[in-house]
């Protein structure tokens, strides 16, 4: 059996996810998806640049080691590097099948306000940017997730809701960014109101 590290290494660049037929067929509307939500923002270009760091996937060897009892268990843990709003990386681990939301919450909620609706697709506070390869390899977001994502501040090309991201073994070592969006809020009160 291959070790966790090798598995991770060999799995990049990621291949489309099994059992998710349409995963590499981009949603038709994703091509333009570089946008602030409807009424929430007035930033000029409308384009949220993806953080550089997401594009460089750290090799497994540089990750902090997590001591695990059995090889079997080892195979079921996935390490995720979360770049918090302050830009600091946080390593956390979760089991295959858990959602990213679970992982963050079980790590003692290091991201303020994360998961306000407790994973019921009703809030967007679990919004994250994924690395492009991972975004493309994952199952497409459902219509319900897209509906909610459309409300997220700082919506970008690889935005997902953490409560809908289910950990897979190949995600080991994945870097995920929590959007920093306070800067986008300032123009809000001036949002183009009409005189009728």
């Amino acid at each position: 059996m291959i070790s966790l590290g090798q598995a991770t290494f060999q799995s990049w660049p990621p291949k489309p996810e099994a059992g998710c037929a349409s995963s590499i067929v981009k949603h038709p509307s994703l091509a333009h998806l570089i946008y602030p939500p409807t009424r929430l923002s007035s930033f000029s270009s409308g384009l949220v640049p993806l953080p550089h760091i997401l594009l460089n996937l750290t090799p497994w060897k540089r990750m902090p080691s997590i001591s695990l009892k059995s090889r079997e268990l080892k195979m079921r843990w996935v390490n995720i590097c979360l770049l918090n709003r302050d830009g600091k990386p946080l390593w956390m681990s979760g089991r295959v099948g858990e959602t990213l939301l679970n992982v963050v919450m079980n790590a003692n909620g290091p991201v303020e306000g994360y998961g306000a609706c407790e994973g019921t697709l009703a809030c967007t506070t679990c919004h994250v940017y994924l690395p492009t390869e991972a975004y493309e390899r994952m199952c497409q977001p459902t219509e319900d997730e897209l509906d909610m994502l459309d409300l997220a501040v700082g919506l970008a090309e690889t935005s997902r809701l953490g409560c809908q991201v289910v950990l897979k073994p190949w995600m080991d070592g994945m870097r995920v960014q929590v959007p920093k969006h306070t800067a986008d809020l300032r123009g809000l009160a001036d949002d183009g109101k009409m005189e009728g």
């Binding site: 509307s29 994703l30 333009h32 998806l33 946008y35 602030p36 939500p37 409807t38 009424r39 929430l40 409308g46 099948g97 858990e98 959602t99 939301l101 679970n102 919450m105 079980n106 003692n108 909620g109 303020e112 306000g113 306000a116 609706c117 407790e118 994973g119 019921t120 697709l121 009703a122 809030c123 967007t124 506070t125 919004h127 319900d144 897209l146 509906d147 909610m148 459309d150 409300l151 997220a152 501040v153 919506l155 409560c163 289910v166 969006h181 306070t182 809020l185 300032r186 809000l188 009160a189 949002d191 183009g192 009409m194 005189e195 009728g196």
Partner: protein, 486 residues
């Protein structure tokens, strides 16, 4: 898929890890800091999302600070309790996180205290290192047109307050004995109103809607609701999730006029933002040519390019009988499209008018600067202009716009400003609530603590249990106060 959803509901696990770590942090902090540095003391006014998220940020990022939260009502959570629609219980899960914050030893809830009446902002500034105003938007925008005061014309705010159990709206009892209702404005609040009034009553029964509203809606004669906007389909302010709920509403037909959508497909070929694109695609699908929508004996529809210029009375002049609209066309004006009159007009008969054109904040205290035009406290990233030690967050900071997540972000921004300033200032120790308490006592104010609220909460939940709903809200402030004192 089902199992997957279920596995996402994880409250017990997080809650337990959270609370454990929370307590242990307290222990270390107390040993490290007791007597070393003076205690910082801040207060926040208003316990909606802005208030609670500001508190959360302060407590999390400064381990010495104490925060007191003043709320005008005996019950916390602002619009999460009194705004968010009863059929959206998932949105209210955020209350769990607020409750967790409230259990911090460094937090005090002071309910039933109206700032600006029971205690003034200047009193608070004397008692605290920092005062954050997060009192939301307690009023609503007026159309300022003739007939607006006729019986049968209601503000969205009042109707929402009525079905959600806001004490001041408990006796509203709108007359739903009419066939046609018009909602003016095309935001999410407008769709909330239309949906609640048209949702099958058996579905509403399982929500925390008030018993009185449920009875009135069960008796309602409303057959159709028009949601009317002054601009076009590309300018609607509601979002896709709420539109989809309307389109899929059981037993309710969606009625859209295809001529309103002429040329829209061409716009969709352009590079428009994804949220607007998906929303418009769903609107197109819901036109008679489209595939979406339900069949039913009741209907709802969107009307565009109409500005109300007068609310018309019935022949006897007793109540609302219709609306006189001016028809508009759109003209580009900078980045936005502006509605300008075409010169044509139209009368539309209806028996109920709901004005849903936005909420509005009010000045709290003559001492606090207020921008009347924009309806906000003038501020720079949460720092009230020209007033050291005074801050604001939420709707009163940026206007009545945005969902809870937006409010959260701006509250964190304000929290950050407070912490930045507070660490740079040296002042004498502030007594906080201890110096406010005697003032309140002398005015006979019964202050409701968070423990008191949990007693009210328990009574509401017990009443709900009997009716097979999450809670039956108490509508009367006096009754709340009775249960609060146990």
């Amino acid at each position: 898929m089902l199992g997957f959803q279920a596995s996402q509901r994880l409250r017990p696990l997080w809650l337990s890890t959270h609370l454990r770590s929370h307590n242990s942090r307290h222990v270390t902090r107390n040993c490290c800091f007791t007597g070393v540095r003076r205690k910082l003391h801040a207060c926040v006014v208003g316990s909606g999302p802005a208030g609670f998220y500001t508190v959360q940020h302060l407590l999390k990022n400064n381990k010495e600070i104490r925060v007191d939260l003043y709320e005008r009502l005996p019950v916390p959570f602002g619009l999460v309790r009194f705004g968010v629609a009863p059929d959206h219980p998932d949105v209210k899960n955020v209350i769990n996180s607020f409750t967790q914050t409230a259990h911090s030893e460094r937090f005090t809830f002071c309910g039933n205290v109206m700032v600006g009446r029971d205690v003034m902002v200047s009193d608070l500034q004397e008692a605290y290192d920092a005062v954050v105003l997060s009192y939301g938007a307690e009023d609503d925008q007026l159309l300022r047109i003739p007939g607006e005061q006729l019986p049968g014309v209601y503000s969205a705010r009042a109707i929402v307050g009525w079905y959600n159990g806001l004490p001041e709206n408990k006796d509203l009892m709108p007359d739903l004995n009419v066939e046609t209702a018009v909602v003016l404005g095309q935001g999410n609040v407008a769709l909330d109103l239309a949906r609640i009034l048209l949702t099958p009553v058996d579905l509403l029964r399982k929500t925390d809607i008030t018993g009185a509203a449920l009875d009135a809606i069960a008796e309602s004669k409303i057959k159709r609701i028009f949601v009317v906007g002054r601009r076009g389909p590309l300018q609607v302010a509601f979002t896709i999730k709420e539109l989809r709920e309307m389109v899929n509403l059981q037993g309710v037909r969606t009625v859209l006029n295809p001529s309103d959508f002429e040329g829209i497909e061409r716009v969709l070929l352009e590079n428009i933002p994804r949220p607007r694109r998906r929303l418009t695609e769903l609107l197109l699908k819901s036109t008679p040519q489209g595939s979406a929508g339900c069949v039913g004996h009741r209907e709802w529809g969107l009307l565009f390019h109409r500005s109300p210029v007068q609310i018309l009375p019935t022949a006897d002049g007793e109540r609302v009988g219709g609306i006189h609209f001016q028809l508009n066309k759109l003209e580009a004006s900078g980045d936005t499209m502006k509605a300008v009159p075409t010169g044509n007009s139209e009368d539309m008969p209806c028996g109920l008018v709901l004005r849903s054109i936005g909420y509005r904040s009010l000045p709290l205290d003559p001492d606090v600067p207020f921008d009347k035009r924009r309806g906000v406290i003038p501020n720079n990233r949460g720092r009230v202009e020209g007033r050291a030690g005074l801050y604001c967050s939420g709707w009163v900071k940026r206007g009545p716009q945005g969902v809870i997540a937006t409010t959260m972000n701006d509250s964190f921004e304000t929290g950050e400003a407070v912490l930045e300033d507070i660490s740079n200032r040296s002042a004498s120790p502030q007594a906080g609530f201890e110096s406010i308490r005697p003032k309140l006592a002398s005015r006979g104010v019964q202050v409701v603590s968070f423990g008191d609220w949990t007693r009210i909460d328990r009574v509401e939940q017990e009443r709900g249990l009997k009716l097979d709903k999450p809670r039956e809200k108490i509508l009367d402030v006096q009754e709340m106060l009775t249960h609060a004192s146990g």
